[in-house]
Each structure stands twice: as structure tokens, then as C-alpha cells.
């Protein structure tokens, strides 16, 4: 009837120990469900299905379920296997993966640069009240600026090359990291700080031995968000710069070919999704290693 606290605690502990196998299982279930819903929508309200002489006319009309707007899952898969362009050798999938790796490289550089910059800025800010008071409101306010709006200009300034994209990714990363690190570096219990001072520890020692370790959970929370943000920044930056080697360009050009072959755009989206999730997982795995042994917060 009523869950007593002793039982649910035990279950929670077991869930935390649930291995990666369980997680993958859930993901598989989700993917299957997604495909079912996708095709189900088309079954109910899409364009007529015609295969091997069998015909099916969906009873209603769902406005986004047409074959143009929502290609069949197997059409997308088929397009992924086929050449990415007429008379090309590479399959769409492989082509996109290479593009994704290129984009990822830009994003990763920006991500690391932004992370370092954010940690550095935060360190300066917590040691100088004046600087903090002067600049933090701008740091905060800038989060409300759609930094994305600066993208075209950055590209024009630094040229149609990787540099501009990296700058955009860096910019998108360093604000959340700065804010998170300010909070994290300040997070140690004041009593722990007093303890360090009673050992006549220098500010630098306190920083390395107390503040930085304490700030790591905050850092990783920010990094998980900025992992995605840096990829978004890279994709957006590639657009105006017409950087043909990246995913952003593929999205734009496949979008232009939408009328003739929508599946390619969906393929690009799928690969972008894969990229985002993979990067996120990488950061998560690093987080689990670095923060091993600490009481974890929530999943993800």
C-alpha cells in the first residue's frame, strides 16, 4: 500500500548501481518507440503507402506527416547508405561523419579554450572584489545576448576559416563556465577555509588544494551544457562562412535540396544529434572519472 522509506531507499540505491547495460536498454526502447511513433503518424495521417502492390491510404491528414516533411524511416536509412551525391563514392553516412568530425574539432578547441578562459576569469574575479563587481554584471548580461547574433560579424572579421568558428565556440563556452566556477570556487565551507588559514596556507595553496577541487562538480555541470553549446556555435559559424568541410554547410546545402530529397537533411540532423550526444557522453565519462567517490547529484 504505502511505500515505507526503508524499501524505497533500497530501490534508489539499486537504481544508482544499475549498469550501463540497463541504460543502453532504455535508449534502445526509446529509439524503437520513436520509430513506432514516427511511422505511426505517417500511417494515420501521411501520404499513401505503396509497396510491392500493396496500398494503404491513411484516413486523416496530419500536416507535417507527408513524405516530404517526414520521410519514412527506411527512406532516411536508405539515403544514408547511398551516395551522398550523384556519382560520389562515399555513402551519405560516411560523408556526414567526416563533416561531423571536422565540426567537432572546431567545437572541441573552442570548448577547451572557453573552459580555460572561464576558469581563469573566475579565479581572478574571486580574488578581486573590485574586478568582480566591475565585470560580472556584464558576464551575466551577456548571457542574455544572443551571442549567435555576433556570428556573421565574427566570420567576416576573422575570415572564412576555422578561426572564426573556434572563436564563436569559445565565446559560447566561457560565460557559463565563468559563472559556474565563481560559484564553485566560493563553495567551500567557510570553516574549511578557516582551517586552511590556521595552517598559514597561502592563497595559492588554498586555491589549488581547496577551492579548485571543490569547484569541479560545478565546472562539470557547466561543461555538460557548453559541450552542446560549442557544437551549436560551430554549426552556426560554418553557415555564413560557407565552410564546406563542416556539418553546418551540409545542413544548409541539404536544406536547399529539400524538395528533391528531404532524407538527406534528416540524415544530417541525425548525425548532428549523434555528434551532440557523443560529445556530451564524453564529458560525462570524464566527469565520472574525475569526480569518482563523491556523492553524485542527479543523473546527467
Amino acid at each position: 500500500m504505502r511505500r515505507s522509506p526503508d524499501r524505497s531507499r533500497g530501490l534508489a540505491a539499486a537504481a544508482g548501481q544499475r549498469s550501463r547495460v540497463g541504460r543502453i536498454g532504455i535508449l534502445v526502447v526509446f529509439l524503437v518507440a520513436l520509430v513506432v511513433v514516427w511511422e505511426g503518424l505517417k500511417f494515420i495521417g501521411g501520404d499513401p503507402w505503396r509497396y510491392f502492390g500493396w496500398e494503404w491510404h491513411p484516413p486523416v491528414k496530419i500536416w507535417f506527416a507527408s513524405d516530404l516533411d517526414l520521410p519514412h524511416v527506411w527512406q532516411i536509412v536508405g539515403a544514408m547508405g547511398g551516395p551522398w551525391r550523384r556519382s560520389a563514392d562515399q555513402s551519405l553516412f560516411v560523408y556526414l561523419v567526416f563533416k561531423a568530425l571536422y565540426t567537432w574539432r572546431e567545437a572541441a578547441i573552442g570548448f577547451l579554450a572557453g573552459g580555460v578562459l572561464g576558469v581563469g576569469l573566475a579565479t581572478i574575479f574571486i580574488h578581486s572584489r573590485i574586478l568582480e563587481r566591475a565585470f560580472v554584471p556584464y558576464v551575466v548580461a551577456s548571457q542574455t545576448v544572443p551571442i549567435i547574433a555576433l556570428a556573421p560579424m565574427i566570420v567576416f572579421f576573422f575570415g572564412n576559416n576555422v578561426m572564426s568558428v573556434v572563436i564563436i565556440a569559445t565565446y559560447l563556452t566561457f560565460f557559463p563556465v565563468t559563472i559556474a566556477m565563481i560559484r564553485g570556487l566560493r563553495s567551500p565551507d567557510p570553516r574549511a577555509l578557516e582551517l586552511m588559514r590556521s595552517y598559514a596556507a597561502s592563497r595559492r595553496t588554498i586555491l589549488w588544494k581547496l577551492r579548485l577541487p571543490a569547484s569541479l562538480p560545478y565546472l562539470f555541470t557547466a561543461l555538460k551544457i557548453t559541450a552542446t553549446a560549442s557544437i551549436v556555435g560551430a554549426i552556426i559559424g560554418e553557415g555564413p562562412g560557407a565552410i564546406q568541410d563542416g556539418l553546418g554547410w551540409s545542413i544548409i546545402s541539404f536544406n536547399q535540396q529539400y524538395i528533391t530529397d528531404p532524407s538527406k537533411l534528416w540524415g544530417a540532423i541525425f548525425v548532428s544529434a549523434l555528434l551532440g550526444i557523443t560529445f556530451y557522453l564524453v564529458v560525462r565519462i570524464v566527469e565520472l572519472r574525475v569526480l569518482r567517490g563523491r556523492p553524485q547529484a542527479t543523473a546527467g
Binding site: S4, P5, D6, R7, R9, G10, A13, A14
Partner: protein, 278 residues
Amino acid sequence: MTAQTVVSLSGVEKTFELPGGSSMTAVSGIDMEIRKGEFVSLIGPSGCGKSTLLRLIGDLTQPSAGSVTINGKPAHQARLDRDYGMVFQAPVLFDWRTVEENVRLPLELMGQGRESREARVREMLELVELTDFARHHPYQLSGGMQQRVAIARALTFSPSILLMDEPFGALDEMTRERMNSEVLRIWEQTGITVIFVTHSIPEAVFLSSRVVVMSARPGRVARVLEIDLPRPRGVETRESRGYFEKVTQVREALRGGEGRADEGIGSVERAEAEGLIG
């Protein structure tokens, strides 16, 4: 006038399953009877299961064996009938409600009408002497005041039994002594039956008509001491000879049980700390 039994425990035992397969018995073989209007304290070393016992009485957890009868009903029914109020160590007030809204909570849950609710809340706030703070938020009150709000809330629907689990444990000594007198005043004014869990021997002796001393591992009733100090009790009581003797008696009863409790007090403590029990 025969005092009737309001709380009756018979052969009560509580065993917890720990993650990992083993089990741990928090209390075992508890037989107890509490009469109407009594003030009974449960005291014992860490891990003796006194909090578990209180929660068994309050139907916040169920016995693995034995029965708990409240006012002639099974504990579960008594809880549904709202026969008792509880006060925990933390006041557990809702931050977003004012003092009077917090005290009003049980009445809202019972579906009482607005006028009768307001009258009752005013009455309760007068009882704990917090009328002037009705519109304040909990964060504006001191720890002692927050506990008084918690007590007012516990008494709002006139329960016949008040269960208190180390309610003053987080307060400083002087506030604690003041709160002790408060509780006694309320007890005398309302005639309610009080079951009080505490770590503090002086507190148990000062407040109670009977002190139940428990031993640990598994939790059992070691001794029951009648505290026949005269009432009303006040500052003079704390300085009286009889008081000092009773405190010594309780301490010795505790020490008698401590010999056994020294062995592996660990697992019950740990289980309590993990929130599995207690």
C-alpha cells in the same frame, strides 16, 4: 476515576531489511501501556530504537510482529482518524506559508470550513503565545519559535496523543529549558497524552510522569521509572533534591543497559543514519 489506556503495545518487534540481504532488528519484544493524560519519555543510548518505537506508535512504520493499539483501535486507523499530532526535531514548516497558514495546514487537509479554521488557528497561536507573529514567515523566526509553531500545528485538530521526537534537540540549553516549561504548560492546559523521545536525562525527568529507559541492540525496554516529583514543576524543581535523585536513577538505569549496548552499536546507528529506520 480510572485512567484508561490509550496506547498499548504488545510483543512489538520491528526488523529492517538492509540492502545487501541482511536484516536488522531495531526493537524487539516491546510491551507497553500508556494511560490517558500521562507524560511519558522514552530515553536510551543511540541506536536503541526509541525513534523507531515512536514511529511505530504513530503508524509511520509498521511492526514486523506484535500489535499497536491506540484508543482501542489499530494504529493505522488511529492515524486515519487523526488521533495524534507529531512534532519532529526539525520544525518542518513550509517556507512559503506564514505562521498562521502553517498552523492551518492540518485543518485544510481535513476540509474544515474557513471560519472554524481561523478561530482554531487563533486559539492555537494564543496557546503557544505567538499571536503577534501570525503573519510572519518561518525564516523570520528563531529556532525555538519555529518549534512552537510546530507544536501549535500538531495540536490544531485536538489530537488525544502528542508524539514528540527530540523536538528541542537542535536548540541551545537555555531555550530548551524554556521550551520544557512551555510544553508542560500546554500539557496541563490541554490534558493531552504526551510521548516524548529524548537524549537528555534532565529533560526526561523534568517533564515526565514516567520515564521508559531503553537498551540497544535490539531495542528493548530496560526499566520504567515513575517520576513522582510534585507538579507544577518549575525552576525550583530543577534545583530540588528529589530531581537530582531521579536523574541519577535514570542515569544508572541507562548505564545498566549500556553494557550490552556497547557491543556493535554500529549497525543500528548506521541504519538510522542512512534513513532506513528512525
